[in-house]
């Protein structure tokens, strides 16, 4: 198995640990990832607000590059995953969009014929590798670790076909295969506010607070995420989200970090040290001895 | 010679008309006297209560009691005769149904005594003395009968075997009744000894009643010149005949007066007044309440008309005293 790896901008910034742990997991499971050559920003949801057509063109460049290299794309960032998928859809559904994008690609000597699949790591791990194979490779079961699985919006909505849109369970099953205990978490697909924490801070914080306290109330030790922006929002504003009576201190890890730990990766290799809320004391308490 | 059957007569609250009716049997009374031995008949013969008390239980074959039960003494006599007699017969409307005295049930004892002893224009009673049950005078004291609040028919006080209806029973009714009682086969207990059919059956004016009757006004006899041939109801007169037991041969109607219902209802009717009310009202013209009321207003005294003889025996027995004032009285005691 070989995929074009599309990290997206965040995995080179605040989401570095996501990239580090993802690569570790894929390596452990022997899936070959090759970074997409000279990939560019997908445009994210933000670009859409200014210039929709341009954002499709930008995203399509990445698709065209993958098609040129005959590879399907793995996009771990939720926004990238959504935008790439959406671009494919809209090019398919709207001839005007296809025309604009094709011309833009032609201008740089590329073209796109809709041959690329854009997939999320959850999808690949669950459907290409399989729970059995993963469980077989678990070295350090995450025994006793209570995990709130947080999917956020854009992985499952609106395009994911690999999981249920209302009650996704792919991450639950993967982490369970690694020995973790999944807690009931009704807000697993509720929005974290995205960039609202930056633009409309009070509202953004309110959404974050709901997600954190609900995880806390349901007995989670840690929240597992699939998206760099979700992870950032949930981890970085805990002090603001909590208050004197109800302080919040909840490690928020990428699901790949938890999987990598179980598969025997060292904490440093998967960026545990990059967490603002340290996970190590928790792991020690749970007697999960990782490398 | 075998002993003749013993017969007693007694009168309670009555006008004496029923005693008269016995006498009115005329020559036939001789047959009666020949056939029976009259052992008690205060109105005609000098027997005393103690004579009756001295008789063995059930020694009298038939006691004929007329009159309603108004006083405690009448009730005592009714019980006494009941115990001494094989058969107790209510004779006449008052014993049978309560009769005219029964209309006193529209009032209570207090108001009746007040009216009679204090308020009547002809009364002179400066001390305002009222009847009492105990009286002391000159060292003598007497116990006097008490005055009931409610008048009752005989069968409401003692078990009655048969009733002879009428106010008074006509000689024919009485004679037939006697024959029945002295006959071999007695009718079922409780039977009224008269035909169990309404008066119209024997009314001479029956054929003159139209099939479709719709009443627009009720009239009283003095309000019109009564056609002597035509059905009185058809003339707007309140004739109780349709709801009244036959047997009298429509004497009143023959006298050009409407039947007033003295023979009481047929055996199939519980309440004579309710039945005549129902049948007359059904025939009233008008579909609007006001029109109906206007026609019905020409019946000035429904209870006095429909229950003239049967108020004590009716389902309601008597007028309900103002319960509010009763409750008050009870509370103040």
């Amino acid at each position: 198995m070989k995929y074009a790896y599309y990290p997206g901008c965040s995995l080179r910034g605040t989401g570095r640990a996501y990239e580090e742990s993802l690569l570790a997991v894929f390596q452990a499971l022997e899936i070959d990832l090759q970074e997409l050559e000279d990939w560019n920003c997908c445009g994210a949801t933000t670009y859409m607000s200014v210039d929709e057509l341009t954002s499709y063109a930008l995203a399509a460049r990445n698709l065209a590059l993958a098609e040129r290299d005959h590879m399907n794309v793995v996009a771990p960032c939720a926004a990238c995953y959504l935008v790439l998928n959406k671009t494919q859809r809209y090019m398919h559904d709207y001839p005007d969009i296809k025309l604009v994008v094709s011309r833009a690609l032609a201008a740089i000597g590329l073209h796109y014929d809709d041959h690329v699949q854009v997939r999320h790591p959850l999808d690949i791990l669950l459907h290409e590798v399989g729970l059995k194979a993963i469980a077989a490779k678990v070295k350090t079961p995450l025994k006793g670790l209570q995990v709130a699985p947080y999917y956020g919006c854009q992985i499952v909505r609106p395009y994911a076909t690999f999981d249920d849109q209302r009650n996704p369970t792919s991450m639950d099953r993967l982490l369970e295969a690694c020995g973790a205990k999944i807690v009931h978490y009704p807000l697993k697909t509720r929005c974290c506010g995205g960039s609202q924490k930056g633009t409309l801070p009070e509202i953004g914080l309110e959404l974050i607070r709901h997600l954190l306290t609900e995880a806390q109330n349901n007995g989670a030790d840690v929240i597992a995420t699939v998206c760099p922006l979700c992870q950032f929002n949930l981890e970085c504003f805990q002090k603001e989200a909590g208050n004197h009576n109800h302080p919040i201190s909840m490690p928020v890890l990428y699901f790949t970090q938890l999987m990598a730990l179980a598969l025997g990766a060292s904490g440093e290799a998967i960026g545990l040290q990059r967490s603002l809320i340290p996970i190590e004391p928790l792991l020690a308490r749970k007697e999960i001895a990782y490398a | 010679m075998p002993e003749k059957p013993k017969v007693a007569f007694y009168w309670c609250a009555s006008c004496g008309g029923c005693e008269e009716a016995v006498v009115d049997l005329a020559e036939a009374i001789l047959d009666v006297i020949a056939a029976v031995d009259i052992v008690f008949w205060p109105v005609a013969l000098d027997f005393k209560r103690k004579d009756v008390e001295a008789m063995p239980e059930g020694s009298i074959l038939v006691s004929f009691v007329n009159g309603a039960i108004r006083t405690s003494e009448q009730a005592e006599m009714a019980h006494l005769l009941r115990s001494k007699s094989k058969l107790l017969v209510a004779l006449g409307a008052c014993a049978h149904l309560g009769g005219i005295p029964g209309l006193a049930n529209l009032f209570d004892r207090e108001s009746i005594l007040k009216a009679v002893y204090l308020e009547a224009p002809s009364t002179v009673n400066p001390e305002g003395s009222l009847p009492t049950t105990h009286h002391k005078d000159d060292g003598h004291s007497v116990e006097l009968p008490g005055f009931y609040n409610t008048v009752q028919a005989l069968n409401q006080v003692v078990e009655v075997d048969y009733s002879v209806p009428g106010c008074p029973p006509t000689p024919r009714i009485f004679r037939t009744a006697l024959q029945t009682l002295l006959g071999d086969e007695l009718p079922a207990k409780g039977t009224v000894l008269a035909p169990d059919c309404a008066l119209c059956d024997e009314c001479p004016r029956k054929d003159s009643k139209p099939e479709q009757l719709s009443i627009v006004e009720f009239k009283r006899p003095q309000q019109l010149l009564i056609d002597e041939q035509k059905c009185l109801l058809a003339q707007g007169l309140l004739c109780m005949g349709p709801a009244t037991r036959a047997g009298c041969e429509a004497l009143c109607v023959r006298g050009n007066m409407p039947c007033s219902g003295c023979c009481g209802p047929t055996s199939r009717v519980k309440d004579q007044g309710a039945k005549i009310l129902s049948s007359l009202a059904s025939l009233v013209a008008g579909k609007e309440a006001a029109e109906i009321d206007r026609i019905l207003a020409t019946i000035p005294d429904p209870v006095g008309t429909f229950y003239r003889y049967s108020l004590p025996a009716s389902l309601l027995h008597r007028k309900q005293l103002d319960r509010a004032s009763l409750h008050e009285a009870a509370a103040s005691k």
Binding site: Y47, E52, G194, T199 | -
Partner: protein, 196 residues
């Protein structure tokens, strides 16, 4: 108490706007809207909105452009797609929100220093320049243009992220940045040609 005339005349409607919304990408089914309100109910942000998504759909298709474009709701939308997946009439509400944002930015229907359009503009500028986004610089640029004081408030967090290696001042760039320019020019040209 400020009293305002609230009655709307037909002259207040902009039929062109109503036509535009039902012909724009994602607006094909807006007329089918039953006004059931499931979108508003499922929206995590609707509790802060002046007009709920349901009401925006109605106002849009009726052509009440001013009300729609000056609504806070279009900026509150985080594009979480909750409304869209549940919509019984399969209306692409999320995409319509993008369309309304674009239109609002185009027609300058937003308060000065309102960070969301600024962020969008800075984002696009950075992509145009580098082909990629460097989060640290994007945040700095946005706050410089909207609320400098908040940049100071964020400095603590920034420092911690920097220490954790999650913030870099080295701008990310792609190799063939000229390609981005070419593409953007091409898009602009085609758009003009086709009057999109």
């Amino acid at each position: 108490m400020e009293l305002k005339r609230t009655v709307k005349f037909e002259a207040d409607r902009d039929p062109e706007f109503a036509r535009w919304i039902s012909h724009t990408v994602g607006g094909e089914r807006i007329r089918h809207c039953l006004q059931c309100g499931l979108c508003s109910g499922s929206c995590p942000l609707s509790l802060y909105m002046d007009y709920t998504p349901r009401r925006l759909m109605h106002l849009s298709r009726e052509g009440f452009k001013e009300e729609v474009l000056s609504s806070s709701s279009i900026w509150l939308c985080t594009a979480c797609y909750a409304c869209m997946v549940e919509c019984p009439k399969k209306i692409n509400i999320t995409h319509l929100m993008y369309a309304l944002k674009q239109r609002a930015i185009e027609e300058r229907f937003y308060p000065k220093r309102f960070p969301i359009p600024v962020m969008a503009q800075q984002f696009s500028r950075m992509v145009r320049g580098s082909g990629r986004i460097t989060e640290s610089w994007l945040i700095v640029r946005v706050f410089l243009r909207t609320a400098i004081w908040r940049l100071l408030g964020m400095s603590g967090l920034g420092l911690r992220l920097f220490r954790a290696g999650r913030m870099t001042l080295k701008p990310e760039k792609i190799e063939r940045r000229a390609e981005i320019i070419s593409m953007l020019d091409s898009v602009a040209a085609t758009r003009k040609e086709l009057a999109l």
